[in-house]
């Protein structure tokens, strides 16, 4: 088997008192689209930040391209990030420069390419996401879907070998969603990248993922190919993938008895 791009072993991470990850093992294979799915608040975004070295875990190992992220110096981390792209949920575009400059930004910061070449490269990236015509717009003039596509063009500006997508489909209309689904798959295959998609949009994600990890309550519940997970023997996995409101994952947030709560009247808790 080929060496995984990202290898996580025994990862533990806590936000204050709350344990987010409690011993996670995970492998991301090269050249494939791997989806990390789970309910909101499972720490999927946190996982991407841990892989990118923006957060440090309590314990465990995170190896990216063979480098132990948890022990890299600031300089080493920045070096490693040059081969990673990340698409933020909000897009995270720089709001005081236009679309063209946003996509050109990483190139200007990290390369000494001549102006004309940068222009051509930016136009190629924008063409890939279908927004070459929007290159002079400011981020505030873009719709949510367009902003995310610009952010995608920026994420692939330096031709990274791995791209992380943080909830790429959330809050998108069906057309934008369709475009993004297609883009993620096509970019992955055309550029030979490794993609990590964090999402809870089951249908869209399952459609493009080669492999899926299901996370809940700090653990990997199950992992496998999409078709295998659909026929999973675990009730929880089926509930999540089919989107049923109640099941092993309870509808109610833990609370005291409903009747007692109502009868207590105006007394404070």
């Amino acid at each position: 088997m080929t060496e995984p791009v990202v290898q996580i072993r025994g990862l533990q991470f806590a936000h204050g008192e709350r344990m987010i990850f409690d011993g996670i093992d995970l492998d991301i294979a090269p050249g494939r689209v791997t989806a990390i799915m789970g309910p909101s608040g499972t720490g999927k975004t946190t996982l991407l930040k841990l892989i990118g070295g923006q957060l440090r875990p309590l314990s465990g190992s995170i190896r990216v391209y063979g480098e132990e992220v948890t022990q890299l110096s600031r300089k080493g981390l920045y070096q490693l990030r040059k081969c990673m792209g990340m698409l933020f949920q909000s897009g995270a575009l720089l709001t005081d420069i236009n679309v063209f400059e946003n996509v050109a930004y990483p190139m200007r910061e990290h390369t000494r390419l001549p102006k004309a070449l940068i222009r051509d490269l930016v136009l190629m990236k924008l063409q890939a996401v279908g927004l070459r015509g929007a290159s002079t717009l400011m981020p505030s003039e873009l719709s949510g879907g367009m902003a995310r596509r610009v952010a995608l063009a920026r994420a692939i500006a330096l031709d990274p070998s791995m791209v992380m997508y943080d909830e790429p489909f959330t809050g998108q209309d069906p057309i934008s969603m369709g475009i993004l689904v297609k883009l993620i798959r096509e970019l992955n295959d055309a550029l030979g990248m490794t993609s990590i998609v964090v999402s809870h949009d089951v249908r869209e994600t399952a459609a493009i993922a080669d492999y899926i990890y299901l996370l809940s309550q700090g653990k990997v519940i199950e992992h496998g190919k999409p078709e295998a997970l659909r026929d999973s023997s675990l009730e929880w996995s089926r509930q999540f993938l089919e989107g049923r409101p109640d099941g092993p994952a309870a509808f109610h947030y833990p609370a005291p008895d409903f009747r007692d709560d109502l009868l207590r009247g105006g007394q404070s808790k």
Binding site: Q54, G85, M86, A92, L94, Y105, P106, H110
Partner: protein
């Protein structure tokens, strides 16, 4: 009782943690400054945003402060027949105290709050995180140029404040109230010492520029990334900078002019 102690402990601990983070932040800024100096354009852009755009409020305030001092000074001095000393009084007050202090307070309100809001919003909209993931250090790219701009522009603004203030005093004292033109300037020239007064005033404003930039940028960088968090951080910038400037002014004055 236990609750009170617990709260006291938490607040104290929180205070020292923030103080520690603030100093680490400053060290990070220092570490990136050599890199920033290689790209002077970044600093120049910020000099415009932080310094040039603050110029108007500095000019107007300086003029009025000088005019008020001319008027008040004249009314007091004329009783003793000492109105010829008006120039000295106006110039010394401005150069030693009012120039650096009032310019720093105005700077905190105009530029400091803007810096905090800008950095805080960049944090809230994940722009700083985005930069980090693009392997661009936000401290070097965003914070350090703004720090240098604040550090450079406040002393210049303070000097401009004092200069225009002296003109305001001259306008009211000489042009309107009839103080002798020659005496106004001659006494000022005689009594205002370049090293003892002007240099010390400039040193004060250099210190204030350093502190104002540091506080504003740290508050923005450390802000809770929500609307309420950024708003609190902006308020804190103005309050903390003002208090720090006034407190430091006393310390510096005691060191410079105390016997």
């Amino acid at each position: 009782m236990l609750d009170v102690l617990q709260n006291l402990g938490r607040v104290t601990l929180g205070f020292f943690q923030r103080l520690g983070r603030g100093h680490l932040f400053l060290l990070q800024i220092f570490a990136t400054i050599p890199g920033v100096l290689l790209r002077p354009r970044l600093v120049l852009t910020q000099l415009y945003a932080v310094g040039v755009l603050t110029l108007l409020i500095i000019l107007v305030s300086g003029l009025f402060v000088g005019m008020v001092m001319g008027l008040q000074g004249y009314n007091t001095l004329v009783d003793f027949g000492a109105e010829d000393s008006l120039g000295v009084m106006v110039a010394l007050s401005l150069v030693r105290e009012l120039g650096p202090v009032v310019a720093a307070l105005l700077f905190a309100g105009r530029a400091g709050s803007a810096l905090t809001a800008e950095i805080g919003l960049m944090k809230a909209t994940e722009q700083l995180s985005g930069m980090e993931m693009m392997a661009v250090d936000p401290i070097q790219r965003v914070v350090a140029p703004r720090f240098l701009a604040a550090f450079i522009s406040l002393p210049l603004l303070a000097v401009i404040f004092s200069a225009i203030g002296v003109y305001g005093g001259y306008f009211v004292g000489v042009d309107l109230l009839g103080v002798d033109d020659g005496a106004f300037w001659a006494q000022m020239q005689d009594k205002v010492d370049l090293r003892g007064d002007v240099y010390n005033g400039v040193i004060k404003s250099v210190v204030f520029g350093f502190v104002a930039g540091w506080i504003a940028l740290f508050e923005g960088y450390d802000a809770v990334p929500t609307a309420a968090g950024v708003s609190r951080a902006t308020t804190r910038t103005v309050v903390h900078t003002s208090l720090a400037v006034l407190g430091l002014d006393f310390v510096l004055t005691a060191l410079m002019f105390g016997e």
